[in-house]
């Protein structure tokens, strides 16, 4: 390590893993250090702790480190988005519906990261059932962006992104249905990747829209994301029917590959009038760095980008209305105190347990699936979804990766879009297309925009091109210090 006096919370996942392996510090003191910071935090990032379980995991890591039998990330702490179920920590999905819920099992992603040696610090705040773009839909309160506490951290993985930026955790899990890893990563100045749909198991990931939901890692650098992603991915054939039969991969292997000759597709639809000038300037700056590293920019077109908004906001609520029918007050979760019969128990339980955005999406989904509307809305949306996916395949005939902004603006102020859900939907325009196509997407810090807020560069790859995306982001981070900057007071 170059700087022996560096605080544990300023170290990367790679540095922590190396330091733990060399036994320069113990897993127990590492866990205690991060736990103290996380428990003292007042930004709303964390929803649940279980210090006893955390410290027990850390002690077990120390025992394995002592005998040299540790995993690749042995003793490195992380937080899990509260969408992943955990046996040792309460799981709420940001909803009153699941207040106090304890899962009888761990999500596959949680156990895979534990198998790699990682120690769980706690559960991270998110929009209710991952439905939101600013973490403002959490039943447990908003999360403050560490760069400006009056602003949102993005969503739905807002607690994960804010906790990483505030150095409360070196890394976290997130989930991305329509941009919920990439957009908060952009808003908080960190790095996050959503892999190809089907690469990380959805078992134990509380379902929102099953054909879109995909877990992935968030950390400060692409190098750290690669370490976590390598542990997270891999087939889970007995437990997730959409888990792809694709072997686990070492996503760190190609990080340093040369970018000479890399063709970066620039879609004109991502740089239209809806894009704020400050965001555009930061994105252009990062693209210029990439061309200095040998990449060339190729104009491409993704002509149905705008259509991705209605298509997504029909398909995702349709799937949500079906998935969330399980919350009936019978087997787990909230049940209304007073009711007259079974139907009134269902109706009151769901009215009390769900927040307003979740109810809105359930109703929209129920409507588009109902008799007489299915063909006009749901089926039409699925047809355009195929056209959007095909547009990407056409574009990848001309380029290796696609680059653009993650979101049209920097993080907005908490409460700014209250009562206007469509304003939040419109802000998802640049992340929705890759989600609908099931493609991997990454957000890497590009620079800073208005109010000195972070701006991310989005990189989209073809199926299974995660290693390429991480390679491009890593090379950018070797010539840029944007991802190393800290919010004031952290």
């Amino acid at each position: 390590m170059s700087n022996p006096s560096k605080s544990l919370h300023d170290m990367s996942v790679a540095e922590l893993a190396a330091g733990l392996k060399a036994r320069r510090f113990s897993a127990l003191e590492t866990a205690q250090h991060f736990l103290a910071r996380a428990q003292a935090d007042r930004s709303g990032s964390f929803l649940a702790f279980n210090p006893e379980a955390t410290l027990a995991q850390a002690r077990a890591s120390d025992a394995r480190l002592a005998t040299g039998t540790g995993g690749p990330l042995e003793g490195v702490p992380l937080g899990h988005k509260d969408i992943f179920v955990t046996r040792d920590f309460a799981t709420t999905a940001g909803s009153k519906m699941l207040e106090g819920y304890r899962s009888p099992f761990d999500a596959t992603v949680v156990s895979r990261l534990a198998d790699a040696g990682m120690v769980t610090l706690g559960k991270l705040n998110c929009d209710e059932f991952a439905m939101g773009s600013g973490n403002e839909n959490s039943a447990y309160g908003a999360v403050n962006n560490p760069w400006d506490s009056r602003r949102v951290p993005g969503g739905s993985s807002g607690g994960s992104a804010a906790a990483i930026a505030a150095r409360l955790v070196p890394a976290a899990t997130g989930t991305d249905t329509g941009g919920s890893i990439r957009q908060p990563a952009s808003f908080c100045g960190i790095t996050g990747i959503k892999p190809t749909y089907g690469r990380a198991s959805r078992y134990g990931m509380i379902a929102y829209a099953s054909s879109l939901d995909q877990g992935g890692p968030m950390a400060r650098s692409a190098e750290d994301c690669a370490l976590l992603l390598s542990a997270m991915c891999g087939p889970d054939p007995d437990r997730d029917s959409t888990s792809l039969d694709v072997p686990a991969e070492d996503f760190s292997a190609k990080l340093n590959d040369d970018l000479s000759g890399l063709r970066i597709g620039i879609a004109k639809e991502f740089f239209g009038e809806g894009l704020a000038a400050d965001v555009r300037a930061a994105v252009d700056g990062a693209l210029a760095e990439l061309t200095r590293l040998g990449a060339t920019l190729v104009p491409i077109s993704l002509p149905r980008t705008e259509l991705a908004i209605p298509v997504y906001y029909i398909i995702a609520p349709a799937e949500a209305s079906s998935n969330l029918s399980r919350y009936d007050g019978v087997k787990f979760g909230h049940r209304a105190k007073s009711y007259s019969d079974l139907e009134s128990m269902y109706k009151k339980t769901r009215a009390e347990g769900f927040g307003s955005e979740v109810k809105r999406r359930i109703m929209t989904g129920t409507y588009v699936l109902s008799h007489g509307y299915y063909d006009a809305y749901y089926l039409q949306a699925q047809k355009i979804r195929r056209m959007i996916a095909q547009d990407f395949q056409d574009a990848f005939g001309q380029c290796d990766v696609i680059a653009g902004p993650v979101a049209p603006t920097v993080a907005w102020e908490i409460g700014q879009n209250a009562g206007d859900p469509v304003a939040d939907y419109l802000a998802d325009i640049f992340t929705l297309p890759a989600s609908l196509a099931g493609l991997p997407g990454l957000s890497v810090p590009a620079g800073f925009g208005a109010h000195n807020m972070p701006v991310g560069l989005q990189l989209i790859g073809n199926y299974f091109q995660e290693a390429r995306l991480l390679n491009v982001a890593h090379r950018l981070q070797q010539v840029s210090d944007v991802h190393l900057r800290k919010p004031e007071g952290v």
Binding site: R350, S356, S370, L379, R385, D420, G438
Partner: protein, 99 residues
């Protein structure tokens, strides 16, 4: 096409959600706000395009496989019922369904 108050009431019933009148009105205007965006979708010609339910078919050469039809989970009745609102003698309690 705009939704009516009757549509909202019908959908809320189908989704088993009790909606007080003021919430119902807000939902109507917000959902109609969204359906304003949906209009552009209706104009897209999609004859002959197969609906796409999943990206898996595009991503994977191999089709999704089915697992063996064998019981693989152990009995975890107590763990599974620990978060249930009302349980008695290992059974979930619900209001009377059949009179």
């Amino acid at each position: 096409m705009a939704l009516t108050a009757q549509d909202i009431a019908r959908v809320a019933h189908l989704a088993r959600l009790e909606l007080p009148p003021e919430e119902s009105e807000r939902a109507l205007s917000q959902i109609n706000g969204f359906f304003g965006l949906v209009a552009q979708m209706a104009a897209v010609p999609t004859q002959g395009i197969e609906p796409m339910a999943h990206s898996v078919e595009l991503a994977a050469a191999a089709a999704l496989r089915l697992r063996e039809d064998v019981a693989s989970e152990p009995n975890q009745r107590e763990a599974n019922q620990q978060s249930a609102p009302a349980v008695e003698r290992g059974l979930f309690l619900v209001p009377k369904v059949i009179e």
